[in-house]
Chain length 191, copies 2
C-alpha cells in the first residue's frame, strides 16, 4: 500500500538491533485517517469473506482494529496480556513469546466473546516472528472460530513469521512488506 | 446519553466489590458503532473548542479514543503503562494508583507527541477515583499542553474522582453517570 510505505519512509526511524520506530503515526501517536485508509484496503481485499469479528492483541493493535471494525461494521475483541497464571474465569489462554522484550507472557480471551460462529480477521501493527499472530490463531482454534485471514500493517518480510504462518495456510495481507532495512536509511519494500 | 445508559442496563453486570462489568461492549469486546455514537456526542459537546489531539491511556481507552479522533479529525496519543522506572529517552512520566488492582504504576508519553500547541481532549472508559485522568492531566501540564476537557464513557458518580477533578477546574463530560448500583440489579443514573 503506497500510502503506508511512503509514510514509513518519511516518518519511520530505523534503530539499532533491527527496530523500526513508527511511534509518530502507528503505535504511540496514532494517525487515524491513515488507519481508515488501511482498513478500507483490507475491506477491499476481504470483501465477500463474511468476516463478522476482528480479533487483535493489546495494546498497539487496538486502535487499528477498532477503525477496521468500523469499516467492516462488526465488533472487535482484543486478547489481554496477563502475568498472573491463575486468574479464575472462563477464558481461553495461550502463551506468546516476545522477542523484542525477551520475555514470555500469557494472553487470554473470555470464552463469551469467541466461538464457532465467528469468522475472524486478525489485525496487528507488526508481523516479524509471528508470535503474536500465532497466539491469536491458538485462541481462535480453542474457541472453534474460523480465521479468515490477517491484516497486518508492517511485515518484516526478512524475518520468518510471515513465511511460517502462510505455510500453515493463513492468508496474510500486509500493507507494507519490508525486504530489508538498515540504520543508514536503506529500506526496500516487496511490492 | 440514553443509548449508553440503556446498553449498561441491558448488558452490564454488577459484581461484588463495586465492580461493573461492561466487557461485552466496552473494554474487551468492543461495539465500535456505540463508540461512534459516543464520539459524536462529545463532538457536539466540544464543538468550537479547537481540540486538536486526543490523549488517552492504555489499554481500554485506546479504542474509544481512536473512534473519537476519527470524528474530531485529529491524532490520538496514548500514555503507556510501564513498570521499569529507568527507561532512557525523552518522556514525560507520572504515577497512577490503581484502586482496582491495588498497585501503582508509571505512565509515560514521549515528549515529541505532547507540547504547548496541543489543545487536548482526555478520553477514557471509566472515571471512579480519578487516578488515571489525574495522571493524564499531570502529563499534559508537564508538556505545557492545554486540557480543554475530558470525555468519559461511564462515571461512578458516588466515588470522589469526578467531584475532585471538577473542583480543580476540569470540564468532564461523562456520557453515563451512575448514582448508585448494587448486585441485586439496582442502578440509577444522574440525568
Amino acid at each position: 500500500m503506497r500510502m503506508l510505505e511512503e509514510r514509513i519512509l518519511r516518518d519511520g526511524i530505523v534503530m539499532e538491533k533491527d527496530v523500526l520506530k513508527v511511534d509518530s503515526f502507528l503505535n504511540h501517536q496514532m494517525d487515524v485517517s491513515l488507519f481508515r485508509a488501511m482498513a478500507e484496503e483490507w475491506y477491499h481485499l476481504y470483501a465477500d469473506c463474511g468476516i463478522n469479528k476482528i480479533l487483535t492483541i493489546e495494546a498497539s493493535g487496538i486502535g487499528i482494529a477498532c477503525i477496521t471494525a468500523l469499516v467492516f461494521q462488526c465488533p472487535v475483541v482484543f486478547a489481554k496480556k496477563t502475568k498472573t497464571r491463575n486468574i479464575a474465569g472462563d477464558v481461553y489462554r495461550t502463551q506468546v513469546q516476545s522477542f523484542t522484550h525477551n520475555t514470555c507472557y500469557d494472553v487470554i480471551v473470555s470464552k463469551r466473546f469467541l466461538g464457532p460462529g465467528d469468522r475472524l480477521l486478525l489485525v496487528d501493527d507488526f508481523l516479524a516472528n509471528g508470535a503474536a499472530l500465532s497466539g491469536l490463531m491458538d485462541l481462535s482454534d480453542m474457541a472453534g472460530a474460523q480465521v479468515i485471514g490477517a491484516g497486518i500493517a508492517i511485515e518484516k518480510a526478512y524475518q520468518p513469521g510471515g513465511r511460517l504462518l502462510r505455510e500453515r495456510g493463513l492468508r496474510i495481507e500486509s500493507l507494507a512488506r519490508i525486504a530489508r532495512m538498515d540504520e543508514n536509511g536503506t529500506m526496500e519494500f516487496i511490492s
